[in-house]
Symmetry: C2
Subunit: 254 residues, 2 copies
Amino acid sequence: MNEFVRKAEGTALPWSKEEFEARIRAVGAERYHDKHEFHRMLHGGALNKNQVAAWALNRYCYQEAVPRKDAALMSRVYDREFRREWIHRIHDHDGLLPEETGGIERWLKLTDCLGLDRGYVTSMRGALPATRFAVEAYVRFVVEQPLVVAVASSLTELFAPSIHRERIAGMLANYSFVNDDVMAYFKRRLSQAPRDADFALEFVKENARTREAQEACIDAVRFKCDVLWAQLDALYLAYVVGMIPPGAYRPEGT
Amino acid sequence: MNEFVRKAEGTALPWSKEEFEARIRAVGAERYHDKHEFHRMLHGGALNKNQVAAWALNRYCYQEAVPRKDAALMSRVYDREFRREWIHRIHDHDGLLPEETGGIERWLKLTDCLGLDRGYVTSMRGALPATRFAVEAYVRFVVEQPLVVAVASSLTELFAPSIHRERIAGMLANYSFVNDDVMAYFKRRLSQAPRDADFALEFVKENARTREAQEACIDAVRFKCDVLWAQLDALYLAYVVGMIPPGAYRPEGT
């Protein structure tokens, strides 16, 4: 039983592709994490360096999980052309030999500049348990759901370029410890995410042929928004309210 | 790769059974969720009825997951005697035909008396995403980990009777909407949990034969504490701080 997917009315006709896409995009307006208070603070310069470090440390877990998620999804796909397209996502995060270092390495440049030890970051020992639970729920989702629904869960990328633009501007303007070089991850995603998202959107529009499948895809986008939102909720409670759970990262002097 | 289990020093000898047990019990003192502020408020009568309802609604997801977790664990066990013991846990939650209704049904008595619609509760649509992520991480843990480590994750039950005693007394004293009948779930667990925990503790002590396995078992108890703690963190942010995520239960009038 899949508890994330609600059943549509048995007799409903599929939406047109245009209406289906509009409904997918509406999820972003409703609950994408650019609306979260923690992001408002991050981009507006209202967080101190320790709070930005906590964010980067936790968000590392998400970056780390994404290529595993994409490999899990690809493992289910029999269409070679699909895999040849999707594999760009893994290259983008892990880097393609011989010379590309990839997005995870760029992310570690950010945690470096925040004074975090790389071994500590990559061990994920200091990450909030809620971060890990959310991120692994995403990996599991693409394994367990029908393929078109699994692909739909990536569609939050439709909403990503605006948050990345806002983040680059906000962080460069407000944080002296962040420079252009460190923001390389987000700059790369400005060009890569739209390409990935367009491919996934076309796939979903083409392959969700019943109303039930379309609704399941929209729920998948909501689910993914929940994965992102829950990470910021956990950061807010721990590092803004100050209720840091046992075992999680404690900035020096706190 | 199992990221929840840290490697022990290669040369360390196993702890004695007594020291191993003491270290397991020490995890409870360190991070069992009886220390969480939300529980302090719940048991002390500091929550209003809507906040108690939010707790019961979310905690339902945990109750609902436990028999699935136990079935997943049993599916890995070739020892019939082990299964004949472990199956009590499923009976305890689901009820054994013909006449036992089980702990989940008793839990729904609690959500009934809090004015929540049963269909809404059991749909889990209003639960916090963080609750679902934490709970499903627990189900997955017992599937993916070595069996002795999976069993060890149940050992938070060693710490449960005192929280249940405290909860029964605190809720009966402080909340007029809670009566003796509604507290039946916790009363039953006062007798059942120790039996379950003793069996699991003996199994873990007997079967974790290396220091590495012992440390992995202790990490499993920490992991399980994290699962419980993260649920209360999410409740606190949503229903005490008041940052309710999109789509989650909103008490009437809020």
